[in-house]
């Protein structure tokens, strides 16, 4: 792991400088850019945020909105105390209204509830409101809601950044708002072409890129948008959003560290010459390529989850619940049957009517509050369904001889993924005359690893028994509200029947019957063929399960992980 950390740090080396530049651009005119996302918690981001806030405070309100805000406080609502006291409905403006013409700070943006995000997005569309997203996500699928990312110009990644001094030296004070001539048609065309080539379909990034180029030109003291302004805009705005690797005539040059704008003048002569020869679009494509974050590249290469970013974020389906989970607001309803009364909301509903009801009932006692059944509100919670991956590993002689070790490696990698997502894993092994649950569903990586390490190999292949075991675990998980996925690691050559007798033909019939039963239950599954060469038997098993088939690529456990994940994702849509 130590070895791996190095190249990663090297490839994102230029990104902190980019982040500082984005902060400068953003601070010049926050309303123009919608906002900025600062990913990667740590002292560097804290320092940058402090700088940004003190630069933005003179321009308008800067409000922090905690993650657990309720929509009433966000959008405004009846002020309970004042309403009860006054006997008439007193409206209190919400945070989004108060923050108009200013900036809203959203901590732990990767955990923002979609409903809250939708309200914020709406407020950004209607009025003049910009946001700073503090994204604490660490894995590539932990990201702020897409509705918000879409509406902001800058996505900065400060993960692992150590350059505290540079941030401390940063000057965010507003510089001259010189008039910059509008972008030429050719430049706009090149921008649009670059976006298209990078797989960016939304129009918003184009608008942001244009504004970014303009502000960058102003920072650099130009009077019109020069090619390097455009390049920088592409690098800062389009690059981080790329969903595909831009197609180019020749292979892209290795990412070079680009000088920040003030020093750019010195190298301008040189750049200018190069620019003469290369068409503008290619130049921009190059800039986009250079700034595509490494984890996006992984996603592009694997062709998985590129569309799922920030949507499939957390593991497991979601389920509305009236009993437990994350609070999700209230709705009209009668308490009881496990539903809990939301007292404050009930009172809030009742409050404006008090004067009328008091007069109606003739009971004018001031301390009495009149509540009708229609006022009652109950809590609603969202239970996030945990996902459970059940690994059924074929530890028979045929597979032990070939690739059991590789299969173990793959499972270990997947365990690590599951750990990150806090989903559960279970482990079933089948060999000799039956199947055994080595590890009941758990979240503990330590235990899973231990169980896997102790897995012996050898004997026949009781495939049907393995399937039944996995199915039992899956069904039990469903009852607990989990979303199970079965991953069969086998060569598909079952030769032991459920009663323990060796009979290839009978075993196959049993296997098909059990597999079809699993398919009928609608359980997600994937068959990973661990035989030395892809076998028709494993393909047949996958077909019977109505699951995916994947031959285990040699020594490519990572590809396997990606495949299993995508099966899980499909299931969650």
């Amino acid at each position: 792991m130590n070895g791996e950390a190095e190249p990663e740090a090297a490839s994102t080396d230029s990104s902190p400088a980019d982040c500082l530049l984005t902060a400068r651009l953003f601070a010049q005119n926050p309303g123009n850019f919608g906002g900025i996302c600062l990913r990667g918690f740590g002292p560097v981001r804290d320092a940058l945020l402090e700088k940004l806030v003190s630069a933005l405070e003179p321009l308008g309100p800067v409000l922090k909105i905690p993650n657990n805000v309720d929509s009433e406080r966000l959008l405004g609502g009846i002020d309970l105390a004042a309403t009860l006291q006054g006997g008439r409905s007193v409206w209190r403006p919400g945070l989004l209204e108060t923050a108009q013409n200013g900036v809203v700070l959203l901590p732990m943006a990767e955990r923002i509830d979609e409903n809250i995000a939708a309200h914020i997005a709406q407020a950004m569309d209607i009025g003049k409101l910009s946001i700073i997203l503090l994204d604490d996500g660490m894995e590539s699928d932990e990201a702020p809601p897409t509705v918000l990312l879409e509406r902001i110009a800058f996505h900065c990644d400060l993960t692992g950044s150590r350059d505290l001094e540079a941030v401390k030296a940063l000057n965010l004070s507003c510089e001259s708002a010189a008039k910059i001539r509008a972008m030429t048609k050719k430049q706009r065309g090149a921008l649009a072409a670059t976006a298209a080539a990078s797989g960016i379909h939304s129009v918003r990034p184009l608008l942001f890129a244009e504004r970014c180029a303009t502000r960058h030109a102003a920072l650099a003291g130009h009077d019109k948008i020069a090619d390097q302004d455009l390049q920088m805009a592409v690098r800062l705005v389009l690059g981080p959003r790329a969903t595909q690797f831009p197609q180019q005539h020749e292979s892209p040059p290795p990412p070079q560290e680009e000088p920040s704008p003030p020093d750019q003048d010195s190298s301008e002569g040189e750049d200018q010459q190069n620019i003469e020869d290369i068409p503008l679009e290619d130049l921009l494509l190059e800039a986009a390529t250079a700034s595509i974050p490494p984890h996006i590249l992984d996603q592009i290469e694997g062709k998985v989850r590129q569309a799922g970013k920030g949507q499939g974020g957390r593991a497991g389906n979601k389920q509305q619940s009236t009993k437990r989970g994350r609070p999700k607001g209230t709705r009209p309803g009668v308490p009881g049957n496990g539903k809990r009364l939301a007292l404050i909301d009930t009172l809030r509903t009742a409050a404006p009517w008090q004067t009328i009801r008091r007069n109606e009932s003739g009971n004018l006692e001031p301390g009495k509050i009149h509540i009708r059944k229609s006022d009652l509100r109950v809590h609603h919670y969202e239970e996030r369904q945990e996902s459970l991956t059940i690994f059924a590993v074929d530890a028979s002689g045929s597979s032990a001889l070939s690739r059991l070790a590789e299969a173990k490696g793959a499972v270990e990698l997947m365990l690590a993924e599951a750990y990150v997502k806090r989903s559960q894993v279970a482990l079933v092994a089948f060999r000799k005359d039956g199947a055994e649950v080595l590890l009941p569903p758990t979240r503990s990586l330590t235990r899973a690893r231990r169980a896997l390490g102790a897995l012996p190999g050898g004997g026949g292949t009781p495939l049907a028994a393995g399937l039944i075991s996995a199915r039992q675990l899956a069904e039990a998980a469903r009852k607990r509200g989990q979303t199970p996925t079965i991953a069969m690691l086998t060569d598909g050559k079952g030769n032991v029947m459920l009663d323990g007798t060796a009979n290839r033909k009978g075993a196959k019939a049993e296997m098909e019957e059990v597999a079809k039963g699993i398919a009928a239950l609608g359980l997600n599954s994937i068959v990973i063929d661990i035989s030395p060469r892809p076998r028709p038997e494993a393909v047949e098993l996958a077909a019977a399960l109505r699951g995916r088939y994947l031959p285990l690529p040699r020594a490519q456990s990572a590809a396997l992980v990606a495949a299993i994940e995508s099966v899980g994702k499909e299931a969650m849509v």
Binding site: F41, R73, D136, S161, R162, L164, R422, R449
Partner: protein, 333 residues
């Protein structure tokens, strides 16, 4: 006060050290204790809080503000009178609801008088003291989210139930949990300055001694406390002296370089590892009565400051502690 005296805790030197260091320099952040049940985790944390000298607070203030530092109190907080109180030690039970943790609208006042009044939660109670969360790895995700933000910003911002209030909530977060029962999100781990791994002592003599002391305490708590009063006072003086000496402890440039080299070698993410290790080594030096941080201080504090910041490597069976020790060995011999 009839808790178990801090100095009477047998063994568990690393845990005691981490707690002392955290008490000397609050900026280090909290302590995460990994380990089995019944290893004295909560006893030690509770005992330390009880050992610390009483703090001065504004009389009648629900957030027990420091008299000199009451500007960020949401209450009027104008009383001239000052009261002394024990350092707060708040337990956050697993099933805590969000309302109970962050605070909520005082319904009685709202109903009876039409007054909007904030009823402080556990976070407010823990201000200037310790917040202890047993089995933190089993805490519900949305409560963890709350804690993360408050622990990072030092204030509790409530925007719900029609309330809009912010109050200071600076506390030493002490978490405990068994990683075998569920893992912690790395974001939460990062908020802890130090982490320790505790095990039940294997040594028979130690176990006997634990039994003996626990028994003595159960029989006559007052007598037991009195017996250890002198030792506890020593600990208190040590913390006190270290706090005073801390600003004067020197950190040589070479130590800073060593710190950075070590963090790079083990692959600790971000800059927080370095900063914590530096602060931790400094506080440790102060506790030892040394005027300058040495390599030994660094070596002692390295596993505590870094082991929970290493990226988890599934294919490498060796634990983080071993990896750090190996790096220490390679770098400094």
């Amino acid at each position: 006060m009839s808790g178990f005296p801090f100095s009477a805790i047998v063994g568990q030197e690393e845990m005691k050290l981490a707690l002392l260091v955290a008490a000397v320099d609050a900026r280090i952040g909290g302590v995460m204790i990994f380990g089995d049940r019944g290893t004295g985790k909560s006893t030690a944390a509770r005992a330390l809080a009880a050992t610390l000298p009483q703090i001065r607070a504004v009389d009648g203030c629900r957030f027990h503000c420091e008299p000199e530092n009451r500007d960020d109190c949401p209450d009027p907080c104008t009383s001239k009178r000052i009261r002394k109180m024990a350092v707060p030690f708040v337990d956050l039970p697993l099933g805590s609801t969000e309302d109970r943790v962050v605070g909520t609208l005082d319904l009685e006042k709202a109903l009876a008088h039409g007054e909007k009044h904030f009823e402080p939660g556990l976070l407010a109670k823990a201000h200037r003291g310790f917040l202890y969360i047993d089995e933190i790895n089993l805490l519900e995700d949305h409560v963890v989210d709350l804690l993360l933000d408050v622990a990072a910003s030092g204030e509790n911002l409530v925007e719900r139930d029609g309330l809009s209030i912010r109050h200071p909530a600076r506390f030493v977060l002490i978490g405990s949990g068994n990683p075998e029962e569920g893992e912690l999100r790395p974001q939460l781990l990062d908020r802890f300055g130090l982490s320790v791994e505790v095990k039940t002592p294997d040594d028979i003599d130690q176990r006997v001694e634990i039994m003996r002391r626990c028994d003595a305490q159960e029989r006559d708590a007052a007598k037991f406390t009195a017996k250890w009063k002198g030792e506890d006072a020593k600990v208190l003086r040590q913390i006190d002296r270290a706090k005073k000496a801390l600003p004067k402890v020197k950190t040589p440039a070479k130590i800073l370089r060593d710190t950075a080299a070590l963090c790079k070698a083990v692959g600790a993410d971000g800059l927080r590892g370095e900063l914590t290790l530096m602060r931790g080594a400094r506080a440790f030096a102060a506790l030892q009565g040394d005027v300058s941080v040495t390599l030994d201080h660094l070596k002692t504090m390295a596993p505590l400051s870094l082991r929970h910041r290493l990226r988890r490597d599934v294919l490498d069976e060796t634990g983080s502690t071993v990896r750090i020790e190996r790096a220490l060995e390679e770098l400094f011999g």
